[in-house]
Symmetry: C2
Subunit: 325 residues, 2 copies
């Protein structure tokens, strides 16, 4: 069974689920964002993990929904903070309703996600599941805060940046995988191994996203290519360019990067040349491949521990990261 089929299992469950209840003004925005679409990556990975480790995916559905509800809570609140007008081509919650509604509905969604997890109160790994979920929830907030902090800081170190993307995007994906494994009654050691796989794939995915944002094929990349450059985001490519660039080129790179009057196309093209020539692009590609390699090794090790079905995680890696380079 490949990713799409697992995804379909979750999507079917989601389509059968309404989040509407009273007070309507609180639950309508909840229902709205949950049905906006998306890859449903985290809940799908959770179900895959339960299946790989011999658990019952039907019993894991509430946990999968909990993770997706939590993820959508973070989207609703992050979109307020980022003043984002659109999400998946549609109005964000605070634009369709208002900021107060997006705050309160988001709070309710966070609380709702715990209710879904509390259904596992009789599961032998219940405490472990709660701790895994809550640590991820806390780190997602930490990651969002670092992201906000970086916007106003002049210098960001590579390690800080990697910590930020780990917390902001990899941790919840990894927590889904771990919870899926725990629901299948794996050992804590195995559950932590699949968590580590999730962290590595999540980091590889985010580094790839940084690369594609500047170097992706405009026909395939969902967002506008060059968006990070035009927003002057301190991505890995910028951090490494600043580190690698020769003293002689530094001032002119910074001038271009901060320039407000260079034409957009020109600016993107100039900055991309710096990324390439300084060696930042090659560094990012290597880093992505290293994360991918570590992810692959973890799956090999899990297969060897007697879980042959774990090879489907290689398909998941490929779905997220493309063929291995």
């Amino acid at each position: 069974m490949d990713f799409i089929k697992y995804q379909q299992l979750f999507v079917n469950d989601l389509e059968d689920t309404t989040f509407l209840a009273d007070p309507a003004n609180l639950y309508e925005p909840f229902n709205y964002i949950m049905h906006l679409g998306g890859k449903r990556l985290r809940p799908t990975a959770l179900l895959m993990s339960t299946d790989v480790f011999g658990g019952d995916m039907n019993l894991a559905k509430s946990a999968a929904m909990a993770i997706e509800v939590f993820h959508n809570f973070t989207l609703a609140h992050d979109d307020i903070m980022d003043e984002a007008p659109l999400r998946r081509g549609q109005a964000t919650v605070h634009m369709k309703y208002d900021v107060n509604t997006a705050i309160l509905s988001g709070d309710l969604m966070l609380i709702d996600s715990y209710d879904r997890l509390f259904e596992y109160a009789k599961h032998p790994h219940f405490a472990e599941i709660l701790n895994c979920f809550n640590e991820a929830a806390r780190l997602v907030c930490h990651g969002q805060q670092l992201d906000v902090d970086f916007e106003t800081r002049t210098a960001v170190q590579e390690q800080e940046y990697l910590t930020m993307i780990e917390w902001k995007t990899a941790v919840l994906f990894a927590a889904g995988l771990k919870i899926g494994a725990l629901l299948a009654n794996t050992s804590l050691d195995l559950a932590n191994k699949i968590y580590d796989y999730g962290i590595n794939v999540g980091l590889a995915f985010q580094v790839q996203d940084d690369i594609l944002d500047s170097f992706g094929d405009p026909d395939k990349f969902g967002k506008k290519v060059g968006g990070d450059i035009l927003q002057a985001k301190k991505t890995l490519l910028v951090i490494k360019t600043l580190e690698y660039i020769s003293d002689g080129d530094l001032a002119s790179f910074e001038a271009s990067f901060e320039s407000k009057d260079m034409a957009e196309d020109k600016k993107v093209s100039v900055i991309k040349d710096y990324f390439k020539n300084a060696g930042a692009l090659a560094y990012a590609e290597d880093l992505k491949n290293n994360y991918r390699k570590q992810a692959d090794q973890l799956i090999d090790s899990i297969v060897k521990q007697g879980y042959p079905k774990a090879t489907i995680f290689n398909d998941l890696s490929t779905f997220l990261l493309g063929r291995e380079s």
Copy 2:
């Protein structure tokens, strides 16, 4: 031991607690609001309940802190929605920092409160404690939503209003009492009885607050007397006046209530006369006394079930509601 001594136990614990951690921009606002002061009613009631039912208050401290952290999360987010500049005479979180910080720190506080509860994973009543906490958390959001909804509605029914104040203020206080009892290993029946006591006292307190807002002694009432009238809030006094007033007086009451050019003192005095003459004030006083009576009966019943120490809840009622009228 009276309320003040239990309160002091919690306050001592709180004073020994720092909420500071990294990222500092996330945890400083958390630490700031937690140390702003306040009556610490909910955690104190939780500790009292544990003590009354023969439990160990030291073991209940994390649950008391969880309830207080949760309560302060709601304050941080409600203050954004209400655009409140001050809380306990000091800047609200979104004014001292900014709205985004208040949103994200609030989210983190909500998540933090669960971590504190998860410390009880080995307690026999763990699942019950989680459910009690989460139901209260959900209803607090429902209550806030109703409060927001009522602002833009022309007519609010008495029962809707009472539901709103029950959810917004009574439920979390009651949940603290119930969790305190569960931590002392009471039966679920007893835990529900002390919960019901909390609901009745909470409702009596809120109805009293509505009365004092218009009829309180300016030297004793913490807020500006007449504030609800000047903000045209649809309190119980307004709802009952609209219900009881003669057809002949209705138009002139509404005109005064909605008037924007009447002098403030004059308006407060005119509206108070309507409240009195229509019988709304007497109704509210009766209602408060009835809630108080039900609260007293529940405590009597608990005492008779073999918990003589439960009489301290009568002191709690008096602390909150004054001597019985």
